[in-house]
């Protein structure tokens, strides 16, 4: 068999894949559990020997060494959570309702409007960054949760709509037709029959939207760079830009920002793969 001849190649390949995918995160975790002296030792230690938690205490504002970092990570964690969750809920509700109308109902200008929504998928950040800043400044929404949630939602809606549209398209229409013949209204069909079936699709769209929100940087950098609204990404870049902050603490803050997506990836990976495929192939 040819397969066995290449078997060792596959094992080596998987090893490379895992090392490449995990080492940087492992290295940050390793560094975050060390004292500064350990982290700067040569050759570097590949395992934390003492498990020092003072870096985590410091970035959250506890312990003796917290003064140098002002301990702002707790607030940034809250900001990231509020902004990402808010945008996820709003995006998912609007995208699901809109996608169903586009996928299953018929109305005037449907094709044109659908094309408009899909066309915005191709718009890069450049197209909207400066105007969104000026619009939000005029509305007084700079440095507010609401402003950031609205901007995130507008950015994530086209993709979420596209994912949900493909999920609805993939459903066999016969169930809905049967319900329609039995006298159910469109809204009843949507709420009672369709929504329960597409829950996995909604989970996929929600998870991808949440991860996008969690990773946002340039919009919150422009729209909310004070402690009251700045998310972890902005706080972390500010932390790493201040050269007095030791790398052990910066890596601890990075691990805090990594923890939430890492848990999601580990437990909900199936939905992510499904969502990526639904959002791009067609």
């Amino acid at each position: 068999m040819k397969r066995s001849r290449y078997g060792w190649l596959r094992v080596v390949g998987i090893g490379v894949l895992l090392l490449w995918s995990l080492f940087p995160v492992y290295w940050a975790l390793n560094t975050s559990l060390m004292t500064n002296a350990q982290a700067q030792s040569s050759p570097p230690s590949f395992f934390p020997t003492h498990f020092v938690f003072s870096n985590y205490e410091a970035i959250f504002g506890f312990g003796p060494s917290s003064a140098s970092t002002a301990g702002g990570i707790g607030r940034a964690l809250l900001n990231s959570s509020v902004e990402s969750l808010g945008a996820t809920v709003l995006t998912l509700v609007l995208a699901t309702i809109g996608a169903y109308a586009f996928a299953r109902l018929r109305f005037r200008f449907q094709g044109f409007l659908f094309y408009v929504v899909i066309a915005t998928l191709t718009l890069p950040v450049y197209a909207t960054l400066i105007p969104i800043y000026t619009i939000l400044t005029k509305l007084g929404l700079v440095n507010t949760y609401l402003g950031i949630i609205l901007v995130y939602t507008s950015g994530f809606l086209p993709l979420a709509m596209w994912i949900m549209y493909n999920m609805f398209q993939a459903l066999p229409a016969s169930i809905e037709e049967a319900a329609s013949i039995d006298g159910a209204t469109t809204l009843q069909i949507f709420r009672r029959i369709v929504l329960p079936i597409v829950r996995p699709g909604m989970a996929a769209a929600a998870i991808i939207t949440f991860l996008f929100g969690w990773g946002q940087f340039i919009f919150p950098l422009v729209l909310g760079s004070t402690n009251s609204t700045e998310p972890l990404t902005v706080a972390l870049s500010a932390l790493s830009g201040r050269h007095v902050v030791p790398y052990t603490m910066i890596n601890a803050a990075a691990i805090v920002a990594i923890a939430v997506p890492a848990v999601i990836v580990f437990f909900l990976n199936r939905y992510i793969v499904d969502g990526i495929v639904a959002g791009s192939v067609k």
Partner: protein
């Protein structure tokens, strides 16, 4: 993983019939799409129009008032050597980003094509870098690249690849861009791999069985069956890589820290608009970048995408 196959099967069933509506429901579809359209209109389309218009207006906070200037903003940005450098840099980001992410994506996709024990876990771990914020990746890689205590330097030195510790990012243009690009490649490779994998799993196994019967080698099978049939997935992976690398900002912001050595078009635009407060020139660069992004995406799809029928 069966989810991928299910999707592939679903895609073949095609679009289904529209549901018939009862009376008095004619307004319903509009009510359902209106909130979505209002959002996209107000915060995506309207801003895009403002960008296109603003590119032709002199708008400099340090030199008011605003006035129409024709192509004045474009002339200013093109005569700016830092901007021209960022064009060149972005070209390099695109080349590195697309080649490396798609190349690695094909490699990872092929590795995961056949079932084996633990494949689900490997796939989950592979997806991790895609799910992490670009800024966070920039931060953890900058520690790996650290010129004094970085693990890259110490590992390469003990392996005798380098004789002295290197400043990977910040001195040489191409070297800096390569190492910053590598961080982004780390982030977007999983996406390419998933797209390749999805296309791979749609290939009927009979094709490989027939090739085996005919005595084709593994390499011949990859070249003659696999690569031609994953073109649709590859097209999307190339476009995603293209758009991401044309827009590279987070990794540059963290690793390049405002230097021009490895500045990208986006970091230059950010600097001009929000550092120098020259919105007019910022708009001009934004418009150029938007048009380039869309044009290159369309071109890539046209070149690579070919409908595959089984």
């Amino acid at each position: 993983m069966s989810a991928l196959r299910r999707r592939a099967e679903r895609a073949k069933t095609g679009r289904s019939q529209a549901i018939r509506r009862g009376r008095g429901e004619t307004a319903l579809p509009y009510a359902m799409v209106a909130p979505l359209l209002v959002f996209i209109g107000a915060l995506a389309l309207y801003p895009t129009v403002l960008t296109a218009y603003g590119a032709f207006v002199h708008n400099d906070a340090l030199d008011p008032p605003n006035h129409f200037t024709g192509f004045g903003n474009f002339q200013s940005v093109f005569s700016n050597s830092q901007v021209r450098q960022s064009f060149e840099n972005t070209g390099l980001y695109v080349v590195f980003g697309v080649l490396l992410s798609v190349g690695l994506g094909i490699f990872f996709g092929l590795l995961l094509q056949r079932r084996f024990r633990g494949r689900g876990i490997v796939l989950a771990l592979m997806v991790l870098p895609w799910a992490l914020p670009g800024v966070v990746e920039g931060v953890i890689w900058s520690w790996i690249y650290d010129p004094t205590f970085g693990v890259l330097n110490s590992t390469l030195k003990s392996a005798h690849v380098i004789s002295t510790y290197q400043l990977w990012v910040g001195t040489h243009q191409i070297e800096s861009i390569f190492f910053i690009s590598l961080v982004q490649v780390w982030q977007i490779t999983p996406l390419a791999a998933i797209l390749v994998l999805a296309s791979l799993q749609a290939i009927p196994s009979e094709l490989y069985e027939a090739a085996n019967v005919d005595g084709a080698t593994t390499w011949q099978q990859i070249k003659r069956i696999t690569l031609p049939l994953i073109r649709p997935g590859l097209a999307i992976a190339v476009v995603e890589g293209l758009v991401m690398s044309l827009n590279i900002f987070d990794q540059v912001y963290v690793l390049n820290a405002g230097a021009t050595t490895a500045s990208s078009l986006m970091s230059e635009t950010y600097q001009i608009a929000f550092g120098n407060l020259n919105f007019g020139q910022g708009y001009a660069l934004s418009l150029l970048a938007t048009v380039t992004t869309i044009a290159l995406s369309l071109l890539a799809v046209k070149l690579i995408y070919r409908r595959v029928e089984f």
